[in-house]
Symmetry: C2
Subunit: 196 residues, 2 copies
């Protein structure tokens, strides 16, 4: 069984991550847009803090999540994704999107097989994402169990030349049946620049 995971990471310890919006941080905020439900307060910068669970005191807002085990991906899909997924931190990937999302109670009341069927067999979430690899580096953070205001924090990094491709990816996802269960979504765009 283990041999099947050879191309990718074998061990998946939980990595807690805090995204802190405020005056400091490695990413400059270009825009914050509410896609569904309430937005988040405007901030100048976002700090991505790995390995921590607490908000820095100077932050205007802080969103916590964890990178952990995959919740829907099948072994074959995992291997396909792992073979073409770039890591975070590529020098050319100077643009990013942080998209916090919450899904409705109706979604969470569904059984695992019903959620999986909507996510992939009917909305093609994994298949759509595959089409935009390796241009877009992605990492999903889970926060539903943490008592946070969102269920997921989706973080994506890409080159300036691929902004249009990323916009296409996210537009395709937002048109799916799965997205009809998203009841709060904020779209935060960032760059590595020093800001105005």
């Amino acid at each position: 069984m283990v041999g099947r995971f050879a191309p990718s990471i074998l061990f998946v310890p939980i990595l807690p991550v805090v995204f802190a919006g405020g005056p400091d941080g490695g990413w400059h905020v270009r825009s914050i847009s509410a896609v569904a439900g309430e937005s988040l307060p405007a901030v100048e910068r976002v700090a991505v803090l790995e390995g921590v669970r607490v908000a820095p005191p100077q932050s205007t807002w802080a969103l916590a999540g964890v990178v952990g085990q995959e919740r829907y991906t099948r072994a074959r899909e995992h291997d396909e994704l792992a073979a073409v997924s770039p890591g975070l931190g590529r020098p050319e990937a100077t643009r990013a999107a942080l998209i916090p999302m919450r899904k409705s109670e109706k979604w969470w009341a569904l059984s695992q097989d019903d959620r999986r069927a909507i996510l992939e067999e009917r909305s093609h979430h994994i298949t759509i994402g595959l089409k935009y690899l390796p241009a877009v580096a992605r990492r999903l953070h889970h926060c539903r169990d943490l008592g946070e205001p969102f269920d997921f924090l989706a973080w994506s990094e890409f080159a300036p030349a691929d902004v249009g491709r990323f916009d296409e990816l996210i537009a395709n996802l937002r048109g799916t049946e799965e997205w009809s269960y998203v009841d709060r979504e904020v779209d935060i765009r960032l760059d590595r620049g020093a800001g105005p």
Copy 2:
């Protein structure tokens, strides 16, 4: 889709729960046994605190988890379970077991479909549990995302006459392939009595 869930709860908000071991609490500790890995310190009583995420200051140890969405159960299995599952707090269910468990990194590195196959198709976890309903009332608390020392806190309540049945249930589960991935497990038995 919603109609299928009519016999059971439709909405599943996250319920945080803390199990606090120490001098206080509604449950008297009869025994604490390490099944795999390190045990927990001896305590007189356990308090089951719903809706909180912090340990009471007087506790010797405190384990936090959340009751949330089901992670493996299929819709048909959910309905079967819901039809025969008793609620917690039955007056006759004066005995309880709190079983904190951790699964190995090898387990968490598996994809969702591989974990599901081991859990049910090969270990019959859900099917075994069904045989002991409605004698045993159960609630599973998830804690892997919380940075806790365990991944799950399994809480079961049953009548004194059903202790043997519960022992049989847990012995059956411990013999499965799924349990070969459990690398830490503590078995805490309790009663509602005032203690010696």
